[in-house]
Symmetry: C5
Subunit: 249 residues, 5 copies
């Protein structure tokens, strides 16, 4: 096996893209966009006040972890032209729970309890572990595992749209927070819903006849950009507008 | 294909330049100049006040993203002696919209709206996507695609010279801003106009008989240095002179 | 031997994981989790006051050193599918004594002496050196060396549960500190006890018939995550709650 | 050519030095000394006041750019045992103009105009471009090109010793500045004069019978250390002594 | 020779250690300990006042330069199992003079002159250059060159124990400084004396029959850890205790 290793070698930072490899394009653009966002969130973290520093730090960690894995994934894609499934799930298993921490952090000043955070983290892990099994070990039954995975998604979406998280935001007098929660709710609803579409494009999936196999990674990459960078920018805007409101009051 | 990979390997940070490879020289000098500029803009960002921090941060991100891609491009050039088209467009698709964000940021205090920013970003993407198609997939019709690309350029130039952006600057009482907008206008007019000359040097292009093929990369590299580092320096000068004006007032 | 070196080569940052290699998964997740924790502790260090800065700096060094070695270990595992014993012990021989320094640092304001620190460091080195010998040079007698190693563990556990360290915490009027000491005591008791279970899974170990060989690394990885990241988070919480208490008083 | 690439590969950061390769020694020591100086100037930049920050930042950029190229050059030398001419000139074409910027920055408070800076930059580029041509493309006529190159040097030396730069320093009441200008004048006179001696050691040069070929790189390395690190230290001393003078006044 | 290069290739950051290679262990532990110390000294530098910042910065540079070379040396050792003599002396030729600068920096407030610093630097270079010649070019006469090298050591030791440096410390009223000088004196006397023992273990050395050849590197590694990290910690303690004394006074 060792002899193969050297043949598999593709220098990490010089992975080369073929003209017309549009999926590869999104991997490369994604890696740089995640890195630039990380720098942006770190710098802005030094400029906002107390409680917002934690939120922006978590945003920076989310895009930072994603940036690292996009560098791995773009090399993997450039070399193999197949989906870097393992790297993707390692990324998600770290960043999706961190997004749940974000929800908790912005709601904490209005009485959110740690149980909200742990509940969301539990369902996010449920969603990811079952999704991974459906994409790899039990690929022939990907539809079933996809359905099981969706249960986790549903609980999180419910929490943000109707459950504890939304009620807390509504009970606060903070208009900016309510707006942000609505936007984040749409991220969960529409942004996260991008992923199942990608998932169904795999061989034997519901959309496998409709979409080409490469569609999965293209869709996942768009989903990541929207949900990680966009998510962070909403948090950032909330921090800036809240800080201004405090300054005026 | 894997067996070839190792042969294609050129260590990223030790790409070697042949004596007399003047195009290669501009790639190497460009990579370091972009990196040094990034450090410069980051450090200066810590020294200017509030609203200028965002502008200098964006300048640093622009040259930083460019620096990363110049390191890739210089290795690609050193190895293949052909144009690293994919890396170039990945760079531009991230940095040119960021330049449009710069315009918005310096005009925001005088009432610029986000619609100005999104309009400019739209036309910059139009310009880049059609330009890429003309250089690669539809290379035989590069002239037509070049013309389509130019439409995007024209709208941006119009905005900066006569449209919303210029009017906002004129209506402000800020002399420094007006000077800066004039300089940035010239960057768009003359600096960005460098690129079409490079574009026309490709095989079958309008200038393909006049200029050698390598001229394209030489011209692109000069254009990038002028438009990214120069652009940032104008923003930096504006920040410094405005800060002094505020301090005296 | 040199000829083999190149065959053994596995690019450090692009070590590839096989689908279903769950032990490998924990190595990869561990490497990123350690890195993200290091960034987190460093940033938080800039935000806490005087004496807590040292504690968070040491926390960051612990996870930082671990992050570096997890990057080595994940590559080693990906390539060889065997335990990276040497890297693990190099990591531990640096980070475990630093954990003992942590105990000293949080107890110093209540009169802890350097002798407490050196005593704990001595027993931690005893534990590690004898453990290493049992896993490698004297593997056929791993049970005996494991027992000798446990003596070091017992002395540290005694100190934290009943000895000097606990008494100091009890004599302080600081409720937060007492709570933290209890949690850290449980880390030592239950968290560190994870490791012997892994140790007994090696060939000829007490659990070698019960657990598969790979169980050792899986267990060690979980132990490290709990004891290094968890340990640091307890210190961080203690710093935050103490700082608030001081601010209110 | 690709097949050769892998044979030419010498890992950048593990370039190995042969015992007794004294020229190689100066490359290795130079790379680390430049790096350490860069860290030193960056840290000191955070400690000096306003106008001196720019000067120390430029000093750090000069040694930083040099450090990067010394890492390339030491690998090149270790592998080929020939002069890394291209890397050297890429370094100089960036750092020598930055030294001219330094002169302008320290004289600006006493009325130096940008024309002084641009004039010095022009002559420094003249000096470098003609020097490069003499070392490579027109090596058989290296003496003639060396003479042409010296014209650029003469104009810069004149400016610092008798011209506009010196007059400005003399007209200021600042004794520290006058001392610094004298030292910098000696750097230009004696420090920069080291380079022509190296230049004349190349094949067919005036000293090619007197000095061995390797002497060129040895002399260039000593020159760089003196002129880049030493130059920065003079600026640093000037900043410190001026700051103290202001504090006492 | 080029064909061999690739065979000699050992990836820098994944150099692998064989079980039971205890000398290799000290190289690996040393590299990480130096790196962690560098981070520690840099962070502490931001927390101490004015004059101590320079001292801690120099401490950080010393361990930082050592860290870089220990990464090289550990790879070299892992691959060749022979002493990385060239890397060691490149490290020392940069760090030992910096230790002499440390002595000057802590004595400067009590009237130390630059001549003290230059004198110590001169003898340290004497010690290193003659030591290198004895280990490589004139290895058959290593005893003679070792004796010549010792002269440099003797002059430095004299200065710290009885000469100008000690007198300055004694004449100051600063008890902390006197304690620190005594400790540093013991570092020079006992810590630096570790090295000659290693030196005598080389082939044909005085202890070559007594100690195995590998003993040299083991002893050098212990010496470096003691003298670089320990030295820095003494400076750090002095800074902290002096700062407290000033705060109380």
């Amino acid at each position: 096996m060792n002899a193969l290793v050297i043949n598999n070698f593709q220098p990490l930072f010089l992975a080369q893209l073929q003209p017309g490899d549009y999926v590869g394009f999104t991997f490369f653009i994604g890696s740089m966009a995640m890195l630039a966002s990380t720098v942006f969130f770190f710098v802005q973290m030094t400029r906002v006040e107390g409680k917002w520093k934690d939120s922006l730090l978590v945003s920076a960690l989310i895009t930072g972890i994603a940036a690292a894995h996009y560098f791995y994934m773009r090399s993997f894609w450039a070399e193999n032209q197949t989906s870097p499934t393992e790297f993707r799930y390692i990324d998600w298993i770290l960043t999706v729970p961190l997004m749940c921490v974000e929800f908790y952090l912005i709601l904490k000043p209005y009485g959110a309890k740690q149980s909200l955070m742990w509940r969301m983290i539990f369902w996010s892990l449920w969603m990811l572990v079952t999704g991974y099994l459906g994409e790899t070990v039990f690929r022939s039954q990907s539809a079933i595992w996809g359905a099981i995975s969706t249960i986790g998604y549903a609980f999180i979406a419910y929490d943000v749209w109707f459950g504890g998280a939304r009620k807390l935001a509504n009970s606060s007098a903070d208009v900016n927070l309510q707006t942000a929660m609505k936007i984040l709710g749409w991220f969960i609803f529409a942004g996260w819903a991008i992923y199942p579409i990608g998932y169904m494009a795999i061989d034997g999936g519901l959309l496998s006849g409709v979409l080409p196999v490469q569609a999965m990674d293209l869709i996942y990459n768009i989903g990541d950009a929207v949900n990680k960078i966009g998510f962070g920018l909403v948090i950032y805007s909330l921090a800036i507008s809240n800080q201004k409101a405090t300054a005026t009051a």
